[in-house]
């Protein structure tokens, strides 16, 4: 597939016929429609908060006043740090536990392994809101206090079905022979897993980190239910506090700046790692 890709890239581009021109026009118009709300948000975020002229006049003013106010309102450094800890910690545990679980599931050809595979996947269809009542009771009965840790437990759990599914799919591409020779060289089970199999699963790990990291960073539901202290809010939960400001047009420019600030870390990562992102998302669905 890699070969095929480079081949098409080397091929010449389509000549400019009326049909090709029409394709260009279609794509450009479509893309403009899709990103127009984002352009307006971006342009308005650079206005001073008091500027109430129509946001449709793009980039008429450049000021960081709205950003300054959003930065303070959100308590940005604190919320950013909370998001980072929550997402980083959860993804780390997910990668470790999901690879471990997928190892026997992908390797052993027997009924229990297949049962476990479908058992984990079945978790995909259950929505969080559906089980939130008993989950909240479980947490309080296990005396787990409402800290940053509580939503992390749920993030890890909810990521398991998809990650196990992904790793089990990728496990097929790790040749059995490599492991067998490691076994003959006297490698134990854990050594075989950590030194031989895990490094070879790197594409699946990239895919897991991106797909799961993306939703965990963006999720507001679990932190909203389980976190009560303001200094433990993550970025999306911080945004929920502004829901009331929606009704107040005087707040829009600051609100737009907050939106950009909230998404900024992901935008930067996406810009830097675009190829890995696109491949990781596609691999998640195609390989599994």
């Amino acid at each position: 597939m890699k070969l095929h890709h480079t081949q098409t890239e080397k091929e010449s581009y389509e000549k400019m016929t009326p049909k090709v021109f029409l394709i260009y026009v279609l794509i450009v118009v479509f893309c403009l429609i899709v990103i127009s709300p984002l352009i307006i948000v971006f342009s308005s975020s650079f206005r001073i908060p008091e500027n109430q002229t129509s946001p449709l006049y793009l980039f008429t003013q450049f000021s960081l006043e709205s950003y300054k106010r959003a930065f303070v309102n959100m308590n940005y450094p604190q919320e950013f740090l909370n998001s980072l800890i929550t997402t980083g910690g959860s993804v780390l545990v997910v990668v470790l536990f999901a690879t471990m679980a997928a190892y026997p599931i992908g390797r052993i050809k027997a009924k229990p392994a297949r049962f476990l595979y479908y058992f984990f996947i079945s978790g995909l269809v259950i929505p969080s809101q559906m089980v939130i009542v008993p989950i909240a009771q479980t947490m309080s009965r296990m005396h787990i206090p409402n800290t940053r840790l509580t939503p992390m437990l749920m993030f890890i759990t909810c990521s398991m079905p998809f990650s196990v599914f992904l790793y089990a799919g990728f496990m097929k591409s790790v040749p059995v022979e490599i492991e067998e020779s490691a076994y003959l060289d006297g490698a134990g089970l854990w050594q075989r897993f950590s030194k031989v199999v895990f490094p070879l699963l790197k594409p699946a790990t990239v895919s897991t980190v991106i797909t799961q990291g993306l939703w965990i960073w963006n999720d507001y539901f679990y932190p909203m239910v389980f976190i009560s202290k303001k200094d433990q809010y993550s970025l999306p939960v911080g945004m929920i506090q502004f829901l009331g400001d929606k009704e107040n047009p005087a707040q829009w420019n600051v609100l737009f700046a907050s939106c950009i600030l909230c998404a900024l870390p992901l935008i930067i990562i996406f810009m830097l790692l675009q190829k890995q992102f696109i491949n990781g998302i596609a691999a998640g669905a195609v390989k599994g």
Binding site: A101, P127, M239
Partner: protein, 305 residues
């Protein structure tokens, strides 16, 4: 070596390398999954026959009263209907737009990367941010669409989709499509890249039009990709919660109260955990039923091809 060989002898047709000892590796993941996901699902059945309010642990068993109530006052049927409409919109639009964009971008044109980035960009944003942005887009009078209508000489002041019983659901479903079609497109693009170029060449030599190539060669060949995309969007559609919660708060009236929103509202606003659990149990069976039907239908179709 000797011990391994012995275990190998014990269960035949299993290699000595991949022993049952490997199952221990599933314990951490399984522990999380059972305690925080499967066990809560089972607890739903128990809570659904109580009048538990989330605070007071001295609750009573009320039998089927919760179920009778949600069916009698029509909340469950209303939410099922709304969720199904929402899911159908997501599945149809997200896949049509995603596949269409992927087919356009799979041609040999310049600037493919930029277009792909544009289409995928909305997927990066948190639902809460997307909700804010589209609240502005849909805002009456001074919102993006309303001002564009006014500029075009039309009546922008009467444009208020989120306040309309008829359009609110479509409006928030469209937001979800905006956010999700990029991911769908990426998956379709990956699927289209596996289509053998020589097959298309052969078709062209036989005089097929571009549309015929798409219909007769590309679509049948990417059937597995279509299956996975449809399944993913059905699951996403049935989980609808975000934009009802952020943009419309279930309103106007009950017109955007999806199953998950209704459950959340009964549990956390009305403090009726028992009734919310009964709701969840019904939702659970509905989701399982739809998933099983879908898998059955999709698998059957795939064999035929």
């Amino acid at each position: 070596m000797t011990t391994e060989a012995r275990t190998g002898k014990k269960d035949k047709n299993r290699s000595p390398v991949f022993t049952n000892k490997m199952y221990f590796f599933t314990i951490p993941a399984l522990a999380f999954f059972l305690v925080f996901w499967i066990f809560p699902v089972l607890q739903l059945f128990y809570y659904s026959i109580t009048n538990f309010n989330g605070i007071n642990y001295h609750y009573d068993f009320v039998g089927m009263k919760n179920y009778v109530k949600i069916f009698q006052n029509g909340t469950i049927l209303n939410s099922v209907k709304i969720t199904l409409i929402y899911a159908v919109i997501i599945v149809v639009l997200s896949n049509l737009i995603g596949l269409g964009a992927a087919l356009l971008l799979n041609t040999r044109i310049r600037g493919k990367g930029i277009f792909r980035t544009c289409a995928y960009f909305p997927a990066l944003f948190s639902a809460i941010v997307v909700g804010f942005i589209w609240s502005y887009v849909y805002m009456p009078t001074s919102g993006m669409i309303a001002s564009l209508l006014t500029m075009a000489g039309l009546d922008g002041t009467s444009f208020n989709p989120l306040g309309s019983f008829q359009w609110a659901l479509f409006a928030i479903a469209l937001v979800e499509v905006w956010k999700s079609f990029g991911t769908t497109m990426i998956i379709y693009l990956a699927g289209l890249q596996t289509v053998d170029e020589s097959l298309l060449e052969a078709g062209r030599i036989d005089g097929c039009t571009e549309w015929q190539l798409i219909k007769m060669v590309k679509i049948p060949l990417i059937y597995p990709t279509i299956t996975i995309n449809v399944i993913l969007s059905v699951i996403a559609g049935l989980k609808a919660f975000d934009f009802s919660f952020i943009m419309t708060n279930g309103g106007p009236g009950k017109s955007t109260k999806t199953l998950m929103f209704q459950i959340y509202e009964i549990a956390f606003n009305d403090q009726k955990m028992g009734r919310a659990s009964a709701f969840s149990v019904v939702a659970f069976f509905l989701i399982i039923m739809i998933t099983v039907l879908m898998l059955f239908f999709m698998n059957k179709k795939e064999v035929e091809l």
